[in-house]
């Protein structure tokens, strides 16, 4: 993401351009698409061609055309505009769920890594038991208890992914705490603050950033799967998974109702994966 946030001074502009020239074209495309997705989330009306909730019985089940880019649904609503409308919710759910997962996973994993061997063993066993539940199952179990709805959805997906994060973060913390560079910085007599900011944070934050980037896309997929099953956002909402489930009843008549919301989910997941893996490769070069 350094591509987007580079300050514009003459020297750094040159460096920015040099950097850009070295960036793979797929990563640049992914960054541009992500920018469009973010724009759609922040300012949907800028991109919408129609009212996403405007019912028009005269124009129902129209195939994709210049007037209706992605066609219309059974109530004559413009699917493209509805997908744009649903972007914010899908992103909020994805980011929210990733945060919930990282916080719960981080609390478990980091506590285990930093406490004594006995506490570590206990928490590790808890993580292992939770890990015996596949993510979707854990999410479904949470929904069984808490009921359906968007807030529950965020927590369900977050809790579903938490055990995986807990495992990774525990190992990562152990690795950093036992690392040679931490020992070296102690030996060099650096203060705790310097150690925190110059050795621990860079080695913990970067993997976290990668996890979060890769995680958001997957969280969006999980969340839309649950909405698709009727366990997430309720039908009138322009949520991607809900739209897809809605369109499933009409696939024989109008494939576009289900296919385009799914495309939005896939593209979002793809973009975050490409960017996440790029950051991963870049940081691999730095840390090894």
């Amino acid at each position: 993401m350094s591509v987007l946030s580079a300050p514009v001074t003459a020297r750094s502009r040159n460096r920015f351009l040099a950097e850009l020239a070295r960036t793979p074209i797929t990563v640049i495309i992914a960054a541009v698409i992500l920018a469009v997705i973010l724009l759609a989330a922040i300012w949907p009306s800028l991109l919408q061609s129609h009212d996403p909730f405007g019912v028009d019985p005269q124009a129902n089940l129209l195939p994709p055309s210049p007037q209706h880019l992605f066609g219309t649904d059974q109530s004559g609503r413009d699917i493209f505009s509805r997908i744009i409308e649903g972007t914010r919710q899908s992103l909020v759910v994805g980011v929210g769920a990733t945060l919930v997962g990282l916080i719960i996973g981080g609390l478990l994993g980091i506590t285990a890594a930093l406490s004594g061997p006995r506490t570590d063993a206990v928490i590790s066993r808890i993580i292992e038991v939770l890990y015996a539940f596949p993510s979707l199952l854990l999410a479904l179990l949470f929904i069984a208890i808490a009921g359906t709805g968007v807030t529950t959805l965020v927590f369900a997906v977050g809790i579903g992914t938490a055990p995986g994060y807990a495992r990774i973060l525990r190992v990562q913390t152990v690795k950093v705490a036992g690392s040679g560079y931490l020992e070296a910085s102690l030996a060099l007599g650096w203060g705790p603050r310097h150690r925190l900011w110059h050795t621990i944070v860079p080695n913990v934050v970067r993997p976290l950033l990668i996890l979060a980037t890769l995680g958001v896309g997957q969280a969006i997929v999980w969340a839309s799967a649950l909405s698709f099953l009727g366990l997430g956002a309720a039908p009138p909402a322009a949520e991607w998974g809900t739209m897809l489930a809605d369109g499933r009843n009409f696939i024989q008549l109008a494939w576009w109702i289900a296919v385009f919301p799914g495309l939005a989910i896939t593209v979002t997941a793809l973009v975050t994966t490409v960017l996440g893996r790029y950051i991963q490769r870049r940081t691999d070069g730095v840390t090894r």
Binding site: T26, G101, A121, S124, R125, E128, V129, Y131, A132, F133, P134, S135, L136, L137, L140, L141, I143, A144, I145, T161, P163, G164, Y165, R167, I168, V171, Q172, V174, K175, P207, I210, L211, L214, G215, G217, Q218, V221, S224, A225, F228, L229, G230, L231, G241, L244, G247, R248, I251, Q252, W255, A258, V259, G262, L263, I265, T266, A269, L270, T273, V274
Partner: protein, 358 residues
Amino acid sequence: MSGTVSPGSVPEIADPGVDAQSVQVPAAASAAGFSAPAAGRGSRPNPVWRIGARLLGALAVLFAVVTLTYFALKLVPGDPVLAILGGGGAAPSDATVAAVRAQYGLDLPVYQQYLNYLAGVFRGDLGTSYIFKRPVLEYLGPQIWPTLQLTLASVALAWLISLALTLLTVRRGRVADAIGNAVEVLFAAIPPFWIGIILLVVFSFTLGWFPVAGNADLRALVLPALALAIPLAGFLAQVTRSSFAEALDQPFVLSARARGASTTGVRIRHALRHALLPGLELSGWAVGSLISGAVVAEVIFSRQGLGRALVDAIVARDTPVVLAVVVFIALVYVVVNILVELLVRVVDPRLIRKRAAA
């Protein structure tokens, strides 16, 4: 207990999409010249002792899963008796409520109910469905095989796709490599419910090659299995392709070539073994997550199965059924992971020898 990462090893940051499964390449660990004894597996060389300990550990995990799920489901709001009697609208008399409460043992203290449930599990009695008023096992029994069938077919297909991707695209020139990369990332990002719908539109409605719904025959299995296999193949290929490329860089490839082995021979007989390992370890996770992910394919293709039974039970608040499905999936997950661990030893005999030498 999933047996993929020993506590002494340091896995890499993996894609959380694959459930943050840290994939450990045993070859890399042994390259360091030592392997830390894995806690919980014991360091004694006797394999019987080790397998016994492993089984005990698996049983402990299962017990914890049952207990955790049991008490978690006690948190479901609302009186279960009302769910049994058909929801709040049924307005049953107090006498009926009391009778049903006693019939389902819901008048007992919670710990007593829990102990009764555990005792039942050992007798093969998983309680009575609140909605269908039949023994849970009798209701779920016919759903098990369709889901297992779907899961196994998906894993097999995913392996086929990822091995094809690995053998055809790794070190076959820049274009092939780029295609392999693109396909693996694309596949991994595709949600199964979306690819399922596309397969349905293309192959059932347009081409008419496969039936639209049901689980009548093997033909009906193809599309749902493919829908689940494609995203899984993406994850598998990420792992197999990178470890295959790593294996091709190893000195043994050069020495095999020097002994006169053909390129293809080296790829298949020597390098592939290395590429299989991390993928195999991932498969344990994959089966567990597929069996719950099957719900999506089951809904799209109107198939019978555990996943659909689970979602229906969640919506209807049929707690005994939810509990049984969760426990069954955890059981499969644990069993498959033990099998995978054994299989890994078959593929990588170094692990056995090392253990014996320790």
